[in-house]
């Protein structure tokens, strides 16, 4: 594919996007290899972090627990490794479903226009009238806390962006010659949308989706941090950071005694988001000349 | 190296080289270009898009657009004080004094040349206040003294009088800056000056044949038509009666009828202001109408220079001939120039026109032809006329 080659060349040319790509590859490998890096106990939900006791006081890194144990004796190493997998799982799920809804709704609105379009634009206006995190928060509370509610709430908040993108793309493509030609030879609407318009509109959507992974994971982590998402003990970075809040003052005379409980999960989340943002930044740069080339 | 100009010369561009450092490579936009301009003369520069005409004009103002760099040559200019300076060697401080006062420019797209966020009057005022502040202050002081003598002036007139006298001594004095920041007093201080400048602008706009200048002066650029916008741009350029006016395709973006009006205006204003003009265009018709002499540019080179009548009657360079044949005439079939404008990253070797030239010889691929004098005022850069020296008349067709 010519576009793919072009993207790879652009990525090679900017050092920061190479850093981004490296970080993303690292996290992807960690997510895939999680069962090997941190084998779950057989018969248990692998996303629940094994605990080694019930004491609230964290324990520093040791050979058995390389990142230490957090409040409630949850293994931090296991938590951040499976947290990577959990971040990908929920991030990709939210984006995939949002994008699918976006394609369907945006496609209908863009192709048929008029009333459907008007309704879509007003609905998206309303959803955009709220800051994302706050609307998601309200929806999670209404659905009852938990990761499933978070997923659902995030999808409801996130799809309008994709719907607008697809609508815009379709409005642009619809007027192009090859679509007019397809109409003229009597292709059905569905056939025109699926065979001619979507393949052309999907490309910007893919770029937007990859740009969004960082912010989706960040927002989900924020909800978990607020205590609305993952339950205690779930391998989730936001939840692990939330567990560390009581330990920032350390011990008397040893202020950073518990540095590992707040530094490690936060660093994983931060690097994950930064990796995707750096890569997304490079993709965005690619998108510009791409539009011009068409 | 001669750093002087002949008495009747205003400007001489010598061996100018401008290159653009882009991702695709080094674009050799202007390569050893030579031009000269006499006082009060209109020189037309003609050439296709990408021939380096606009870059040359901007470089005369030392405003070569990025990522361009001047890599050689000199631009000698006879200053308002009679001194001859190489513009490329002037400090930014000197250039600020020169631009708009001694050399000014009008642009291809008037809409783009005006800042959309400021009223047009404000933008004309910038030029006047940059270069003619003492003159404006004198007028304001004169008028204030008059008021005071007649007994119409009060405290505010005295305040303004004080401020303007201070401004004449040192416009950047700290106390003035502080006073201008004061709430009511700050506004009071500039009242008379603003009025004087405004009157000057309205007079200028009237000269530009702008109807209802009192209204136009307070308009934003987008409220005016393209022709009106261009008149404003011309007003800005002529606000300080420059010695040299650079006109970069000023009529190209306008409607045909407006084109004629603007061209007419420039011709008439030239007589009034007595400026020399460099008029850049790709339109041979415009060239015939406006210029005294013509320089033909091709791919960054000046290939032929001649008085306008001579050029039309007896073009020498094959490119010039092709250009003249490409002018559509009723009854005649339209002839285009075969081939395309060369890529300036990897320009053709030797004469840059040789791939499109019907008379190309082996020599043309190897040697860059120099601009040589053929008759008294006719120069051409072509191996067909090279010979032993200049003065040789040729009819090679």
């Amino acid at each position: 594919m010519k576009e793919l080659k072009f993207i790879l060349r652009r990525i090679r040319e900017t050092p920061l996007s190479i850093v981004g790509l490296a970080i993303v590859i690292f996290f992807t490998i960690v997510a895939i290899a999680a069962p090997a890096l941190a084998p779950p106990r057989p018969g248990r939900d692998p996303y629940m972090i094994p605990r080694y006791g019930y004491s609230p006081i964290p324990k520093p890194p040791s050979p058995e627990h390389p990142f230490g144990l957090t409040q409630g004796q949850y293994d931090l190493y296991y938590g951040v490794i499976w947290g990577t997998r959990a971040a990908y799982r929920i991030g990709v799920l939210i984006i995939a479903v949002s994008a699918l809804i976006g394609i369907i709704v945006g496609g209908l609105a863009g192709y048929y226009g008029r009333i459907i379009d008007e309704i879509l634009m007003r609905v998206t206006d309303i959803i955009f009238a709220f800051p994302g995190l706050i609307l998601a928060m309200a929806l999670v509370v209404a659905f009852g806390p938990g990761l499933d509610s978070v997923t659902l709430a995030m999808i409801l908040v996130w799809w309008p962006g994709y719907a607008r993108l697809i609508r815009g793309e379709i409005l642009r493509i619809r007027s192009e010659d090859f679509v007019e030609a397809a109409k003229a030879i009597g292709c059905s609407d569905l056939r025109i949308i699926v065979k001619h318009i979507l393949p052309n509109a999907i490309y910007p959507l893919l770029i937007m989706a990859s740009l969004d992974i960082g912010s989706v994971v960040l927002t989900v982590a924020a909800l978990s941090f607020l205590g609305l998402g993952a339950p205690e003990g779930y391998a989730d970075w936001g939840q692990l950071i939330s567990l560390s809040r009581n330990w920032i003052t350390g011990k008397p005379g040893e202020p950073f005694a518990y540095w590992y409980v707040y530094t490690i999960p936060g660093l994983f989340l931060f690097l994950f988001v930064m990796g995707w943002n750096l890569l997304g930044d490079a993709l965005r740069d690619v998108m510009d000349p791409m539009i011009r080339r068409r | 190296m001669e750093a002087i100009l002949r008495p009747d010369e205003q400007l001489r561009v010598k061996d100018l080289v401008v290159r653009f450092y882009t991702y695709e490579g080094i674009v050799k936009a202007v390569e050893k270009a030579n031009l000269n301009l006499k006082k009060g003369e209109t020189l037309g520069i003609v050439g296709e898009t990408g021939s380096g005409k606009s870059v040359t004009a901007l470089t005369i103002l030392a405003l070569t657009p990025l990522p361009g760099k001047v890599e050689g040559g000199s631009i000698l200019f006879k200053r308002i004080n009679g001194k001859v300076d190489d513009i490329l060697k002037l400090s930014e401080e000197e250039l600020v004094k020169l631009r708009g006062r001694e050399i000014s420019m009008i642009f291809q797209e008037p809409n783009a040349a005006l800042d959309p966020l400021y009223r047009v009057g404000e933008q004309v005022a910038e030029a006047i206040l940059s270069h003619r502040l003492p003159e404006m202050l004198d007028r304001a002081i004169e008028s204030l003294k008059e008021e005071l003598k007649n007994g119409n002036g009060g405290f505010s007139s005295k305040l303004q009088l004080w401020a303007y006298n201070e401004m004449k001594k040192n416009p950047d004095a700290l106390k003035l800056k502080l006073v201008k920041k004061l709430p009511i007093i700050g506004k009071t201080i500039s009242r008379k000056l603003n009025q004087v400048v405004r009157d000057e602008i309205i007079g200028l706009l009237r000269l530009m044949e702008i109807p209802d200048p009192e209204r136009v002066v307070d308009s934003y650029p987008h409220e005016l038509s393209g022709g009106m916008q261009q008149r404003i741009v011309i007003a800005i350029a002529l606000a300080c009666s420059p010695l040299l006016l650079l006109a970069d395709e000023p009529t190209t973006s306008l409607d045909v009828t407006v084109q004629a009006q603007i061209l007419d205006l420039i011709t008439r204003l030239k007589e009034r202001f007595g400026a020399s003009i460099i008029y850049i265009t790709h339109d041979m018709g415009v060239i015939a109408e406006i210029s005294d002499r013509v320089a033909v540019m091709y791919a960054g080179n000046v290939v032929e220079v001649a008085p306008v009548i001579e050029l039309f009657k007896k073009p020498l360079h094959p490119y010039t001939k092709a250009l003249l044949e490409a002018i559509p005439r009723p009854g005649a079939s339209f002839k285009s120039i075969p081939g395309t404008v060369p890529n300036l990253v990897n320009p053709p070797s030797g004469c840059r026109f040789h791939p499109r030239c019907p008379h190309a010889m082996p020599k043309c691929m190897k040697e860059v032809p120099e601009l040589r004098r053929i008759t008294k005022e006719h120069y051409v850069a072509c191996h067909l006329y090279g010979g032993e020296g200049y003065g040789k008349h040729s009819d090679s067709d």
């Binding site: 800051p131 982590a221 924020a222 | -």
Partner: protein, 345 residues
Amino acid sequence: MSASMRTYIIRRLLLIIPVLIGVTLLIFAITQLFSPVERASLYIRDPRQAKDLPSIIKKYGLDLPVYIQYFRWIDQVLHGNLGWSESTHMPVLKALITHFPATAELALYAAPLTIIIGILLGKLAAIKKDTAVDHATRIMAIIGWSLPSFWLGIMLLAIFYGGLGIFSPGRLSVWAENLVLSGEFKVYTGLYTIDAILNLNGAVLLDALSHLALPVTTLVTINIALLMRIMRSSMLEQLNKTYVIAARARGLKWKTVIDKHATKNALISVVTISGLLTAGMLSGMVITETVFEFKGIGYWAAHAATQLDIPAVLGFALFAGTIFVIANLIVDILYAYIDPRIRLG
């Protein structure tokens, strides 16, 4: 104010009415996720009232057709009745009003700092493109953009509070809080820094400022990235425009061209993204106030959320949505103020 500006503002004001109706519709739709009995229980303040549920349903018309309920609900909202916040034991509206000054104080410092520093750095990066300054701001932007605000807050607390023992969480130290409660310190606005100035109390002022330092730093760091990047790219775009060349060609100094012409034009794109900035600020408030136990609206809403205090969360969402819509309105007016093409178009 010019006539054209006045017409523009009126037109724009009329346009936000449908959006505000939409906002209420969405919040109302969320309430419809609950059964009438569940919604009725939101109105009771005492378990002993449980047997009155049917009468409450009747009283508030919770079993009527949806559209009638909507109008009744709107009527309640317009009369300031947003329900009872169980987590704080007061009506939602009162809780909002009580917690508002803290949030306003945070915004009072965070928003201008973000805007001023962001614009200045973005402009600097553009003028000094491809120099060390440019690269430094770019890296700053990428880090700020990727930092989870709650983690940044925790790290700042660990270093400055845990490690160095300065800048503690909360809004005031205990002694200052006691002073406020004692009534000796008059509370005029609820914004302690301003009240301290009005009371001529330097100690409280310093104390309040030291408590603001970390949350403001967090909010600025997180939100500045977007602004910086937009300002940089938009400034670069403007510097290549013909009017910049034309302004220089008429003899203006480079500094004047940048400050008077290019910057003002570049600000237009900044204004158009300030909606995103407002959203970032509002979301950031929830997180930042929670991390720093800064008892503003965000802190209150986050706590209400964990205790499933539904009226409080919905009231907060309605409030945030309205603030956001109004902020966008102000931004649009600002936009028209800068750009004559908008107000005259």
